[in-house]
């Protein structure tokens, strides 16, 4: 079960380093590394040793993950709940993308220009809208966790990113690998994989 947790977490994160996988799974770093090594021996994950490298799934790993996740969903009998949550998520997703764009870009006379983050009032409004979106996203995470417990990590991860932004580290909205946007995108990827929907 933990093997699927690590495998599937990495699947949704794409390519990343050990620390990020550990943070996302909630396991300790040695524990996570041990699982990754087991998975690598089984040919399901691989480590690319370059400055831009990290851990990622092999094609066999992706196939195994898709199969295991499908089996898990079927066994839980929670397909309707997950599908419903996905529908709600899709309604919120354009808003999240709008907010990320608003964080990075700010139109001047209808023409998008890079947001230089010198207008604290504007950035504050973006943060307020993130908070509002998060309030409406929370029930989605809750329903998903009820349906499949492994979704339980998203709520605290999203909340942590938002809390860091609210504490002044605004880059945690959309500029880091642990940002609200990054976690949100993993949740999106997770829903697609879980429901077997091609991207």
């Amino acid at each position: 079960m933990t093997d699927l947790l690590v495998l599937h977490t990495l699947r949704c994160m794409g390519f990343t380093d050990l620390e990020r996988v550990a943070e996302a799974t909630g396991l300790s770093i040695p524990e996570t590394e041990s699982h990754l090594i087991d998975l690598a021996v089984a040919g399901l994950v691989t480590k690319i040793p370059s400055p831009f490298g990290g851990w990622g799934l092999t094609e066999a790993g992706k196939a195994a993950d898709a199969r295991l996740v499908a089996e898990e969903l079927a066994a839980s009998g929670s397909l309707p709940e997950v599908a419903d949550a996905y529908e709600t998520f899709l309604g919120l997703n354009p808003e999240l993308l709008d907010l990320c764009s608003a964080w990075h870009m700010r139109p001047v006379g209808g023409v998008p220009e890079v947001n230089d983050h010198k207008d604290a009032a504007y950035d504050g409004r973006v943060l307020t809208r993130f908070t509002d979106l998060d309030r409406r996203a929370a029930p989605v995470c809750h329903s998903l966790t009820e349906a499949l417990p492994r979704f339980s990590r998203y709520r605290p991860r999203l909340a942590a990113a938002l809390a860091r932004a609210e504490a002044g580290a605004m880059e945690h909205l959309a500029d880091t690998t642990t940002s609200y946007h990054a976690v949100w995108f993993q949740l999106h990827e997770d829903l697609l994989v879980t429901l077997g929907i091609p991207r």
């Binding site: 400055p51 490298g53 764009s101 001047v108 023409v111």
Partner: protein, 524 residues
């Protein structure tokens, strides 16, 4: 009428607060004698009343019926082109009712935030005799939302098709509206499809995205949107039909040359969907010389009217040009500077106006590095600039390849689109090009967060990961070929062309000289 303003020449044009900015532009076009499809505007006041009372204003119901009857009655006047169909246009396979577009248009531009519905069947025509060549058909006359083009693209961007930037679909499903209209039809209510569409546009003022947009940009929630109802024109009607966007000056450089995109045989929403590669507007000159000449003439006249750069959305149907929208301004950074300086040189505006036209933030953006676009540059594609800056590197067509190749020098990652699975490639690349997806796509958001130049919607490029190459209009660029991208202008260029910064820009230098002179004279 209290709520409805017919689209006819009106001097001065009605207040934009009442009819919205888009309709205000349409009145301007009409006043200047340009061809605009017949129709009418429902005021923002009607929207406010609807949102306040939670139901369709009674006066509006009767006004709407009357306006639709008038529209239907005026439609046969359009027969001067000799086309055997009613109204401004009809798809070749439908001979019966008039089809209308129902578009949102607030006083303040809110691109992509509200709904627009196309091909709504106006049932007012069911009372009228069908045209002589048409077989009577009750089925056709029943209210419904035609779904030509079939998918959700039929309900597209709210403000304009040129501003559609988001690949996400709007809230309203075609089928919802069809159901609502169908129910009304069963109840025997006329005009129900148009009415449902108007209600849908009114309601879209309060979608979560629209609310967020207004919060972010300090726009009052009380304004409401106007609704523009016009006879449809069909850019996909025949081989002498098409749609496009045209700028009076190149929006990327500010140079005084008509610039734009055209899509032959397609509707307007296809121009910006990214699903079809557009052609440079100049191709229209060889294919429809009369339409081209009329369009160029219109842009010239509109520049003189607005004393500013402007752009129009147009559709031409069976060789006949229709203007669907006009907007002044809309240039960024150095393009805005060049246009302002040259318009002053041409005597279109004075130097003081030129100085006032360029905002401090445009001035700042004028320092963004750009590709110097002279005649020698080989532009392989022009997409949408999603993250400003210039990057040069070797093409990689997968994230894995990008990560590998980046160890030996800068890489440009070219993908149809990206997902979190491409993160290592995005991190490794110096710049990112995608062929589908707009400025809010994953690739665009990630590129901006990493401060890397990015071009999206470069639809002229096809990424072939199997063959390990990029194809574009008959050419093959294999992986490893050096290209340069401009994340402001959206250009994808072969090789490593000269790059300019604001410091060496002659137009910026002149504008700054004028500013100093104005300060010396104490005129600012």
């Amino acid at each position: 009428m209290r709520f409805i303003h017919p689209l006819t020449p009106t001097t001065p044009p009605p207040d934009p607060d009442l009819v919205g900015a888009k309709a205000h532009g349409l009145f301007t076009l009409l006043n200047l004698g340009f061809p605009v499809p017949s129709g009418f505007v429902i005021s923002t006041e009607a929207c406010r009343t609807f949102l306040h009372d939670g139901r369709f204003p009674e006066d509006l119901s009767s006004e709407l019926s009357e306006a639709l009857s008038d529209l239907a009655a005026s439609a046969p006047d359009r027969h001067e082109t000799g086309q055997p169909y009613r109204g401004a246009g009809q798809p070749p396979t439908v001979d019966g009712p008039l089809l209308v577009s129902v578009r949102s248009g607030a006083a303040v531009s809110m691109p992509g935030m509200m709904n627009t519905l196309l091909n709504v069947v106006s049932t007012a025509l069911t009372d009228l005799a069908p045209p002589p060549h048409a077989a009577p058909s009750f089925e056709r006359a029943s209210p419904k939302v035609a779904t030509r083009g079939s998918d959700k693209a039929d309900i597209t961007d709210a403000v304009s098709f040129a501003e559609t930037s988001d690949s996400e679909t709007p809230d309203l499903e075609t089928s919802d509206l069809a159901d609502a209209a169908g129910t009304n039809a069963a109840a025997g209510k006329g005009d129900s499809a148009v009415r449902s569409a108007v209600e849908a546009v009114f309601s879209s003022w309060n979608t979560a995205r629209a609310v967020t947009y207004r919060e972010l940009h300090d726009i009052s929630h009380d304004l409401g949107t106007a609704v523009i109802v016009q006879a449809m024109v069909f850019g996909d009607r025949d081989r002498h039909s098409g749609s496009g966007v045209a700028f009076s000056r190149d929006p990327s450089t500010g140079e005084r040359v008509v610039y734009g995109d055209v899509l032959f045989g397609h509707q307007g929403e296809d121009v910006v969907s990214g699903r079809f590669p557009t052609r440079p507007l100049i191709d229209l000159a060889g294919r429809e010389s009369l339409v081209w000449a009329e369009l160029v003439g219109a842009l010239e006249l509109l520049e003189r009217h607005f004393r500013d750069v402007c752009h129009v959305e147009f559709t031409y149907e069976s060789g006949r040009l229709w203007l669907l929208q006009v907007r002044p301004g809309g240039l960024s950074g150095r393009a805005a500077v060049r246009a302002a300086v040259e318009m002053a040189d041409e005597g279109l505006i004075d130097r003081r106006t030129a100085l006032n036209r360029v905002t401090p933030r445009q001035l700042k953006a004028a320092h963004t590095p750009r590709i110097r676009l002279d005649g020698t540059v080989d532009v392989v594609a022009r997409g949408v600039g999603a993250s400003p800056g210039v990057a040069t590197g070797r093409i990689a067509v997968t994230a894995d390849q990008a990560a590998r190749m980046a160890a030996h020098g800068p890489v440009i990652l070219a993908r149809p689109h990206t997902s979190p699975l491409d993160m290592h490639g995005l991190a490794a690349a110096a710049g990112i090009v995608t062929t589908v997806g707009g400025p809010t796509s994953h690739a665009a958001v990630v590129a901006r967060s990493m401060g890397k130049p990015s071009v999206v919607s470069a639809a002229a490029i096809e990424v072939d990961t199997t063959a390990g190459c990029v194809r574009t209009s008959g050419r093959v660029l294999t992986e490893g070929t050096v290209i340069t991208i401009d994340g402001l202008g959206g250009e994808v260029v072969l090789g490593s062309p000269e790059i300019t910064t604001g410091d060496t820009d002659p137009h910026l230098a002149r504008l700054l000289t004028w500013a100093e002179e104005a300060i010396d004279k104490g005129t600012t």
